[in-house]
């Protein structure tokens, strides 16, 4: 197991051992369940099952985004706050291994949370006409958007030893990517195309909601993730010797 795997294991176990993992998990699952039963099951019985599934993934993506922001805050800022970053800094481990190990641990935990909602789409499948493929596509979308927001969060967390600062930076950047869609509607072409292409949700997530894979959406999320993990790594490198 390389350094990435060693750090992944520590970080994933930290989520399981610490209250933050349980709190985020409980809140996300409670709100997902509440929205599902309150909004979808309580709504017009004539809704198509495909539409119901799409709605489920729509609000699940919102919950995933919020959970990703919260889960990412501690990843690096807490290490600096408690002094354990010094252990990583003086160990023969590359910064990209640290960032990747932490990212994958957070993504695995977030994915486990999302997986715990599987009973909701299965209920839709039992009572409607949707396929496993549509459900899988939705969860792939949740993983991709969650990964992108986690990457933004790791970058925010790498900037400061304060988790509050990390929260503000991450929230601002994530909100900005959500608001690009509204901005694209308010400006003229070609700026509108530029901003809509960057919109993290309304442009790139609906395909997954409907069980459709678009290469451009997958490339977008992976690029966004890579870009912010790269920024986080460079930030770590710059701060490692300070």
């Amino acid at each position: 197991m390389g350094a990435t795997g060693i750090i992944f294991r520590r970080e994933f176990n930290a989520y399981v051992r610490a209250p933050i993992g349980y709190i985020v998990g409980a809140v996300v699952l409670f709100l997902d369940g509440l929205l599902f039963f309150g909004y979808i099951l309580g709504a017009d019985a004539q809704m198509l099952s495909g539409y119901v599934l799409s709605e489920f993934f729509y609000f699940a993506s919102g919950m995933t985004t919020i959970a990703a922001v919260v889960l990412s805050l501690r990843l690096i800022a807490e290490e600096r706050q408690t002094g354990t970053q010094l252990l990583l800094d003086t160990s023969p481990v590359r910064d990209r291994e640290i960032v990747l190990g932490k990212f994958l641990a957070a993504l695995a935990f977030l994915s486990a949370l999302n997986a715990a909602t599987i009973y909701m789409p299965l209920l839709i499948m039992v009572n409607g006409k949707i396929t496993i493929g549509q459900i899988v596509a939705g969860y792939v979308g949740l993983t991709l958007i969650g990964g992108a927001v986690l990457a933004i969060g790791i970058f925010g967390s790498a900037l400061s030893r304060s988790q509050l600062v990390a929260a503000v930076v991450t929230s601002v950047i994530t909100s900005m990517f959500y608001l690009f869609w509204q901005i694209s509607e308010a400006v003229e072409y070609p700026l509108s195309s530029f901003f809509s292409a960057l919109a993290i949700h309304q442009r790139h997530f609906p395909g997954f909601q409907q069980g459709i894979y678009h290469l451009r959406d997958i490339v977008y999320y992976l690029s966004l993730t890579w870009f912010f993990l790269y920024l986080a790594t460079r930030t770590m490198e710059a701060k490692r010797w300070e």
Binding site: R10, A18, G83, L87, T90, S91, P92, V93, E242
Partner: protein, 319 residues
Amino acid sequence: MVELSDVTKYYGPKRALGPVSFEIEKGDAVGILGLNGVGKTTLLRILACGLRPSSGSVSIDGHDVLDNPHEVRKRVGYLPEVPPVYGDMTVRDYLAFVGRLKGMTAGAVAERMPVVEECTRIAEVRDMPARHLSQGYRQRVGVAQAIIHEPDLLIMDEPTHDLDPVQIVEMRAMIRALKDSHTILISSHILPEISQTCDRLLILDDGRIVASGSETELEARLFVSRRIRVTVRPGEKGVAAAHARIAGTSGVKKVEKIGADDGIAEEPGSATFRVEGESDVRAEVCRALVEGGHDVITLTRAERQLERVFVGLVAGGSN
């Protein structure tokens, strides 16, 4: 083993360290002594590859810290002032994590673990989450994480920080035991911590090394044994005669009688003098007193000498 050449560290325009140059041979135990804020931690963090020097070169076991930091990190164990312990992990899991992080295989960690637990005496807390450890145990776990990968160089920043007197004694004993298997570099602002555990001292002031050597060498070099305290039984010739005898001894600059006000518990019929000479005048004073018919009860150097070196140096003088 360790070579520093003209190393400096600036934070913006402020010089925190240097220029500093020194070498440490393999197997040496070296103490860095200095008041708070003189650059001790900066120096240690540069050696541990946690801080980039502004200029100069640092190499450990032939590896330059900037050109080959990972090779240096494999060879160095570092205990910062606050041990870098994850509170959510048990001591055993934490040490296994650190061992793997330092490049050890799982098998090597399992083999090394009992040795480290024995050496640092943490076996009884091995399954306890680190957040529940007392300060003494936290510090021991800090030492354990620094030696888990059997580093050539062990760097400890204020290892007795925040420990009670019993824990301090235990920590010093642990450091003395580690001297057999590691090259050791310790920093402290507390003199006994350094003088009782290290063979060689580097005294740091304002980011620069103002003196280096063994305790004896430093004392000799800085003429600190020129102050002595002598207690005599003057006999029938009286205290004044003993005083005059000492004052008349070649090399003696100043004599003063001291007593209860100076914290001296005098025996009845005895008198104690503080003597300052141009050099070490213990032999001459003793001979003069005996020849003058006075009984010499005790004759010691007036103060703990290394303390005087330290205070003298950092106060800008040499005693």
